[in-house]
């Protein structure tokens, strides 16, 4: 399997200039996208679809900090195992419960501003964890796996909050 960083000719590290990634992504799609192969043979069209699919997949994996961290660990042979490993330190579990309670309260009270505040809180939490994971990937990969699991959890809360806001707005 092709290394996503190599595909975009980017250094294999967590710190990433998103404008550079965007630029490389667009340059690649400009060459490989199926729209460039409409009149080509079926064999060429198949290659184009597969490559454009890979470029999209790689772009998504590197664009989001959580998936980028997960991918970097995967390259080191470390599985983050978010589906099965749900063990978390006590303080994080406490925080989780508080966020879920805040969501439930907002649901009952139809309190959209409270949900917006919760989203902001999630962004701050995520930022802190992202700064931490950047160092951990290099210095303490096993620790980094736990941080990725935390990040995944925070992403999930954000998704749920967004979904709840959409429900309340309807």
């Amino acid at each position: 399997m092709q290394n996503y960083f190599a595909l975009f000719q980017l250094p294999q590290q967590f710190e990433l200039d998103l404008t550079v990634l965007d630029g490389q992504y667009r340059k690649l799609q400009a060459e490989v996208h199926p729209d460039k192969f409409v009149n080509a043979s079926p064999a060429d069209r198949m290659q184009s679809m597969q490559m454009a699919t890979l470029v999209n997949e790689a772009y998504q994996a590197l664009k989001q900090p959580t998936s980028r961290a997960r991918y970097l660990l995967q390259l080191q042979g470390i599985a983050t195992d978010e589906e099965n490993n749900t063990a978390m330190p006590g303080d994080f579990l406490m925080a989780q419960m508080e966020w879920r309670e805040a969501m439930d309260d907002a649901r009952v009270g139809k309190d959209i501003p409270a949900l917006d505040a919760l989203l902001k809180e999630m962004r701050i939490q995520a930022k802190t964890l992202q700064q931490r994971v950047a160092n951990e990937i290099v210095a303490a990969p096993t620790q980094a796996a736990l941080t990725v699991r935390k990040l995944r959890f925070i992403d999930k809360v954000s998704e749920d909050v967004n979904q709840l806001i959409a429900q309340l707005e309807d």
Binding site: V38, N39, A43
Partner: protein, 629 residues
């Protein structure tokens, strides 16, 4: 017949010959065809100077009438005159909830899992066939205006169309004898026309309210790249619904005045709906509209509708467009102040209260400097011109997305999402499954599309069975199911048992779609009655496809043959080309198809090398700032 000319071996056809390619907006109310001429995208007119072709098809005993003439007959012959057929594309009878108000004789086709058909005096007609009749008219108009056979067409679909509706549209094009270069989302087409016209850069919203569908798309425009960030909509909401509100209001008025008012017959229903549409259009520039007509039972309708009443009657429809709008904004993670402009598309956006609602929502005046009826066709023509190869392709890149999530049914009737909505196309995702019983050798896979958690709330796209799983203990088998959505937004699914490699490749034909045999039969029917005609047409199609293939491979050889292939490899491909060329002179369409497949297969390694070279070329030797698209 330029398409049938086969060039001599080794000689490729003139490389810069202008290809005749069109963009087609197959609309609920009106359809259009446009092309790029002398660098300008232009809508093509019929012999009476009309740009819009009413999407109305009237079936006579042995003739089909499409457009204005059919529209004029809709009140007198409502049962055989089909309007707004787009609403029925890829739909089963039970999907059409308001069929009591529609004057057609719907029939459920048992052989196609509930696909709906309409009984006309010319026989049963599926929405695909009716749409094909509209497309044939546009094709004839374009070929007459351009003086030659079309190379291909880009056909637009609502962004919020699901897989069944997209597939039905593609089937209709095929039935009409059109080579589909791409299915393009309507708001994306509009963005291309608007963006190129105005050299727009930044984030734009396309608010597209057509006759029967509503789309909202949010795009980032940057140096010729059109990147769709989020899309949402309602594929059963449009201008027709506004007409219908007026229609119901008129009926209420008339009923309240005369106690013994009888139910309307089909002719009167159509007449009142037409009057309602006219009133709606009149109210765009006037304070009140008079709705006057005489019904077939002699009763006189004479009502006056004010703008204020109209707004009150339809306000809930306007509000209904804002919920998808909010969702799209949220999916794109954007706030109102990041939106550079809002482009209005679709005839229904002429209604002032729509404009006011959009303006209030986005806190800025919407852009209306393009004709909302034509902008989609104009954009599609630009894309068609690029795809046909008339313009060097790197000036325009469209990155579109899938509007609805795709998933699989799991235990308990729940949906496991495999591809989330708003994923950039093309996209593939694999999902692993296992058996739940000891010795289980088959597995049923049910593919659905939609955002809800329950299978019953989503649209069923396909069911298939993966057989031949080796008997193992429950949970030991590993079955990998791969979903691939192509650049047209169409899904194919393949499944593979990982331990023994049993593979099932399925091109998903939606549960409510036509199957391959039905399409072939329809095509054959349209070829004419005589057996020799059919054979001749089949041969012609096979030869045209073969010629297209040879042309593509010769272009690839001219470009990369010297650098990527050894003399031996090149000779092998040439041998296949020569064999196919020889068969094209004969009469065996089956042999032509087989030789085409063999030629294509022989170029697979070459194709892979070419793709690697493309990737290298994309990023080599250019610094990041010199990206000029």
């Amino acid at each position: 017949m330029a398409l049938l000319q086969i060039s001599e071996p080794g000689l490729s056809p003139a490389p810069h010959q202008h290809k005749l390619a069109v963009g087609i907006d197959l609309g609920t109310t009106n359809s259009l065809v446009a092309t790029v001429r002398s660098g300008m995208s232009t809508v093509l007119h019929d012999e009476h100077g009309h740009a819009l072709l009413p999407s109305v098809v009237r079936y006579l005993q042995d003739a089909v009438i499409v457009g204005h003439e059919a529209q004029a007959a809709q009140s007198q012959d409502p049962v055989n005159t089909i309007i707004s057929v787009k609403r029925f594309m890829g739909r089963a009878l039970h999907d059409i909830t308001d069929r009591a108000h529609i004057p057609y004789h719907f029939v459920e086709n048992d052989s196609s899992q509930g696909i709906l058909e309409i009984k006309t005096r010319a026989g049963l007609k599926s929405p695909v066939e009716i749409s094909a009749d509209i497309l044939k008219t546009l094709k004839a108009r374009a070929e007459k205006a351009l003086g030659g056979e079309l190379t291909g067409a880009v056909i637009t679909v609502p962004a919020y169309f699901d897989d069944a509706q997209r597939q039905a549209t593609k089937d209709a094009a095929r039935l009409a004898g059109l080579h589909v270069l791409r299915l393009l989302n309507e708001p994306t087409a509009a963005a291309v026309a608007y963006g190129l016209d105005n050299a727009a850069e930044g984030v734009y919203v396309i608010y597209d309210l057509g006759g029967g569908t509503f789309d909202i798309s949010i795009l980032r425009l940057s140096k010729g790249v059109f990147e769709v960030l989020a899309t949402n909509g309602d594929s059963a909401l449009g201008g027709d619904d506004f007409d219908h509100r007026i229609f119901c209001w008129v009926l209420d008025q008339v009923r309240s005045k005369s106690k013994d008012f009888k139910p309307l017959n089909e002719e009167d229903t159509r007449l009142l709906l037409t009057k309602s549409r006219q009133a709606k259009e009149w109210l765009t520039d006037n304070h009140e509209a008079n709705i006057v007509c005489k019904l077939s039972n002699g009763a006189l309708v004479d009502e006056t509708l004010s703008v204020a009443q109209f707004v009150a009657l339809t306000e809930h429809l306007v509000i209904k467009t804002l919920s998808p709008t909010r969702k799209a904004m949220r999916d794109a993670r954007l706030s109102i102040d990041e939106i550079k402009g809002v482009v209005l598309v679709g005839g229904a956006t002429r209604m002032p209260h729509i404009r006011h609602a959009v303006q209030a929502f986005f806190e800025q005046e919407p852009l209306t400097n393009l004709d909302p009826d034509k902008v989609v066709a104009l954009g599609a023509a630009i894309q068609a011109n690029v795809l046909a190869g008339n313009r060097s392709g790197d000036e325009l890149l469209l990155l579109d997305i899938t509007p609805l999530s795709l998933g699989l049914e799991t235990m308990g009737g729940l949906v496991e999402k495999v591809i989330p909505r708003n994923s950039t196309l093309p996209i593939a995702r694999a999902q692993d499954f296992t058996t739940y019983k000891d010795g289980q050798t088959a597995m049923a896979i049910h593919v659905v599309q939609g955002e809800r958690e329950l299978v019953s709330d989503c649209r069923s796209l396909a069911r298939f069975e993966l057989r031949g799983i080796p008997p193992m203990a429950a949970g030991a088998a590993r079955i990998r199911v791969t979903f691939q959505v192509d650049a047209d937004g169409l899904l194919s699914v393949s499944a593979r048992e990982q331990t023994n490699g049993v593979e099932a490749n399925i091109t998903v034909k939606p549960s409510y779609g036509l199957n391959e045999d039905q399409i072939t039969n329809m095509l054959k029917d349209s070829f004419g009655a005589a057996e020799s005609d059919k054979a001749a047409r089949m041969l012609r199609e096979a030869v045209v496809d073969a010629q297209r293939l040879i042309e593509a491979i010769q272009a690839a050889l001219a470009e990369d043959g010297d650098t990527l292939l050894s003399a031996d490899e090149r000779q092998q491909i040439q041998t296949h080309i020569d064999a196919l060329l020889a068969l094209c002179q004969g009469t065996d369409s089956h042999a032509v198809k087989q030789a085409s497949d063999a030629l294509n297969h022989a170029t697979e390694d070459f194709a892979a090398k070419r793709m690697d070279a493309s990737v290298q070329k994309a990023l080599a030797g250019k610094n990041l700032d010199s990206l000029e698209l």
